[in-house]
């Protein structure tokens, strides 16, 4: 009895020490949690989550202050990725924070723009070019579609333009075993 007990205790101690050693020796140095959350967030910096940007929201999630379903631009996939990372249950996007919209970019109607620079100050990624009393324009490739420039515009000259599908960004669809029969126009030389 005593022998058995000694062996068990000895084993427990030995294995525990081994595990402890392994935990130290093979420790995986990962990114800090905030950076990993931030990497999932879409970086629109739109503030729809209730925080002044993606990083603050990531910090809030990491600190357990914010929920994972407050980022509409990240969409369903984003929530799933966050749930995965945080090891929590997936939950649908919180409607209070907004709804997932197709990705758009802001567009300034240059005829109406009065050059007030208010939108430039609002843009979180400096994607608007212009100077006081000069027409402003959006650098479409840098625009995150956060819509933060819409509200400050005193003349409402900014609108959101959804990014259309072009042969450039077109994607192959998940196959659904197509059996297609395309109609053929009667042969003619145009």
């Amino acid at each position: 009895m005593l022998t058995a007990l000694t062996i068990m205790i000895g084993l427990a101690l030995g294995l525990g020490a081994l595990l402890g050693y392994a935990a130290l020796k093979f420790k995986v140095e990962g990114d800090p949690l905030i950076a990993r959350i931030d990497a999932i967030l879409p970086q629109t910096q739109c503030g729809q989550c209730g925080y002044p940007g993606c990083k603050p929201y990531a910090t809030a999630i990491a600190n357990g202050e914010a929920d994972i379903n407050q980022c509409p631009p990240g969409g369903d996939a984003g929530v799933r990725a966050l749930a995965d990372l945080m090891g929590v249950e997936y939950k649908p996007l919180n409607a209070e924070n907004g709804v997932e919209k197709p990705k758009s970019v802001a567009f300034i109607d240059e005829k109406i723009c009065i050059g007030c620079t208010l939108c430039i100050q609002a843009c979180p990624v400096d994607a608007i070019l212009g100077a006081a009393k000069h027409m402003h324009t959006i650098i479409a490739s840098e625009c995150t579609g956060c819509e933060l420039c819409l509200a400050p515009c005193p003349v409402d000259c900014i609108s959101m333009q959804p990014i259309g599908v072009t042969p450039d960004n077109w994607k192959w669809k998940h196959p659904v075993i197509p059996i297609k029969s395309l109609p053929v126009k009667p042969a003619q030389i145009a």
């Binding site: 990083k55 990624v125 960004n169 077109w170 297609k180 126009k185």
Partner: protein, 649 residues
């Protein structure tokens, strides 16, 4: 290690000097149908529609306007950026429209096209052949940018990029791709049979441009006539060219550049390197003919040979102007038979169903197949994968298609990437052998485009993050700079009083000035106060022009306070020597405030002494200049106060 791959491969040298690749399939060739007739010529169509997107890379820049008259071979869109190709008018006529139209692309989406209404004269621009043998390679390659020549095997990669000497590695062997492994397609076959001499001339040009010592022409053994014609043409040219025709076994996809290189040389081009990095370059036969025409005849790339085959009355190859409506070509081949369902561009293995019959022939269009249910039976419903691994046996890249399928189907893109999804050449050999009729390649394309989209989104997110971080950093920096300026301004004031204090009649005056400076520095609340109080502090010190200018500048800044400030500045110097009384008064006030804040004067006065007078002046200048518009009133008041103090004396 790379050499190890090469060496390993050469161990398995077969007697015929052919180095087989893993896998491959041999579908029914269906090539005989379209080789019965010689290459035909088409009448000029009534409309030429030239999509801007005909090659890999950037969309070229349009150089014409609607209504312009263009000649055959005239540049109508020029290469934009590095990887791009020019587009030329393929016949003479009027530019009738520049608008979006359906292009031959699997997406079926419209894209920008230039429409030319031919005038029927087919009048050339002035051709400018080049004496390439006596010209510098650099200039020749540079001029290729204007030629519009792209890889005509179907990849449509701009040729001038492939010939560009990047200085890193010399090309020792040029491989000419004449394998044409895909079923139905015969355009290269017919080209070799009929224009072998042009091909060989084109090869000589490419060889010269690349500086390649050796040329190997790889032809599949199902094209004996073409091989014979090529051998004859090669034998005609002088021996120095070192060209060799190599017959490779008919096995799809031997026409894939990396597979062909392996077949004829035994070299396995590493996945992350381009062929030039191992001293090789591969050109399609049709591409070298385009080179010949460009340099020797001065004709840019405006047409190509297209196989019109499948379910048409008389399958045949035609020399087709780019932009010719596809149906015009179908008509020339006798029209499609009744049960035609759709058209395929490219071969049956790698081609795609055209979204519409109303599309133009482009640089990529090597073959148009009219499809019918008899030729291409609709695939039976796909059954589950039973992991039989026949796809793995057929894969020429030695991938594990059954695993890739599994990952692609379940959107497990990370794993798909781990299993080298992006090494897949989408040749379709796996789909061809699959006993469960799974459209494997479609899954890979889907997974690839999803991964590419994800990467792009990630890139955009990273850029946005970086820009946002930068913006926040900038705002922070500006804030700090502002704060620093306040501090500097305060220090300047201190310095002024410090340096001036010996000139001042009493210690108390000095103390008063210092105290004022400290108070201001610590206040930092608003620029208003600072700006306002800088003035009186500076004023007593000023005796020289610079100081005056500073004050004037400050005054100008404060638009509304202009006059008062100017007045104050003008009066200030008088104040210095003989006005201890008002200063005393000020001291008392400031002392009281200072004590309220709980500051000691001693430390401040010591540091204040160190700065030179000139520096102080400068800082004062800056500080004054930065004064804000909102400070206007306070400044005016301060100025008034100062002047009133002066007047009191």
């Amino acid at each position: 290690m790379m050499n190890a791959i090469v060496n390993l491969a050469s161990l398995f040298k077969s007697a015929k000097d052919i180095f087989p690749f893993h896998g491959g399939v041999h579908p029914p060739e269906n090539k005989a149908q379209s080789t019965q007739l010689p290459i035909g010529q088409l009448p000029i169509p009534q409309k030429i529609v030239l999509p801007l997107r005909q090659h890999v890379g950037n969309i070229p820049k349009i150089k014409v306007q609607v209504g312009d008259y263009v000649l055959k071979g005239q540049l109508i869109a020029e290469a934009e950026g590095t990887v791009s190709a020019a587009i030329h008018a393929s016949t003479s006529g009027t530019v009738s429209a520049i608008e979006d139209a359906i292009i031959p692309h699997p997406s079926g989406l419209p894209d920008r096209c230039i429409t030319i209404t031919p005038d029927g004269k087919d009048q050339w621009i002035e051709k400018a052949p080049q004496d390439w043998r006596n010209a510098e390679r650099k200039t020749l390659v540079a001029s290729l940018r204007l030629s519009g020549i792209v890889g005509l095997g179907g990849a449509t990669f701009p040729t001038h990029i492939k010939l560009r000497a990047d200085g890193k590695s010399g090309v020792h062997t040029l491989v000419i791709n004449a394998a044409e492994c895909e079923p139905y397609i015969t355009c290269d076959d017919m080209l070799m049979r009929e224009r072998a001499d042009e091909i060989v001339k084109g090869i000589s040009i490419a060889q010269y441009l690349l500086g390649a010592e050796k040329v190997i022409i790889g032809i599949e053994d199902n094209k004996p006539e073409a091989a014979k014609a090529m051998e004859a043409a090669v034998n005609k040219v002088d021996m120095g060219t070192n060209m060799q025709v190599k017959i490779v076994p008919t096995l799809y996809p031997s026409g894939d550049a990396r597979r062909l290189v392996h077949l004829v040389l035994g070299t396995e081009i590493p996945y992350d390197k381009r062929s030039t990095e191992v001293g090789l370059q591969v050109f399609n036969v049709a591409t070298v003919v385009a080179l010949y025409r460009y340099f020797e005849l001065g004709e840019p790339s405006i047409n190509r040979i297209v196989s019109m085959t499948g379910n048409v009355q008389a399958p045949q190859n035609f020399e087709v102007l780019f932009g010719t409506p596809m149906l015009h070509l179908v008509q020339a081949a006798g029209g499609e038979k009744a049960n035609t369902t759709h058209f395929i561009m490219g071969g049956p293995m790698m081609g795609f169903d055209l979204p519409s019959a109303d599309v133009p022939i482009t640089k990529a269009a090597n073959c148009i197949i009219a499809a019918s249910p008899t030729l291409f039976a609709p695939p039976p419903p796909a059954m589950p994968c039973i992991r039989c691994a026949r796809c793995a046996d057929a894969c020429p890249v030695n991938l594990q298609p059954q695993e890739l399928y599994w990952f692609a189907k379940s959107d497990n893109f990370e794993k798909a990437n781990d299993y080298k999804l992006f090494d897949c050449i989408e040749c379709g050999a796996c789909s061809y052998v699959c006993p469960s009729d799974i459209p494997l390649v479609q899954y890979y394309r889907y997974a690839k485009s999803e991964i590419i989209a994800q990467d792009k989104a990630k890139e955009a997110a990273d850029l946005a993050r970086e820009r946002n971080d930068f913006r926040l950093a900038r705002i922070e920096r500006e804030k700090q700079e502002r704060a620093q300026k306040h501090a500097e301004r305060a220090q300047a004031a201190k310095n002024d009083t410090a340096t001036q204090s010996p000139a001042a009649t009493t210690d108390e005056a000095k103390k008063a000035a210092i105290a004022a400076a400290i108070e201001r520095a610590k206040a930092l609340k608003a620029a208003t106060q600072d700006a306002a109080q800088t003035e009186p502090a500076v004023k007593p010190a000023q005796t020289d022009d610079a100081a005056k200018k500073a004050l004037i500048a400050a005054a100008i800044e404060r638009a509304k306070a202009q006059k008062a400030a100017a007045l104050a500045a003008g009066n200030a110097p008088k104040n210095v020597a003989d006005a201890p009384e008002p200063v005393k008064k000020e001291i008392a006030e400031i002392e009281a405030r200072r004590q309220a804040v709980g500051l000691s004067e001693a430390t401040e006065s010591v540091t204040a002494n160190n700065t030179s007078n000139a520096d102080a002046d400068k800082q004062a200048l800056i500080a004054a200049a930065i004064a804000r518009a909102k400070a206007q009133k306070a400044a005016a008041e301060a100025a008034k106060q100062a002047s009133s103090e002066t007047e009191k004396d």
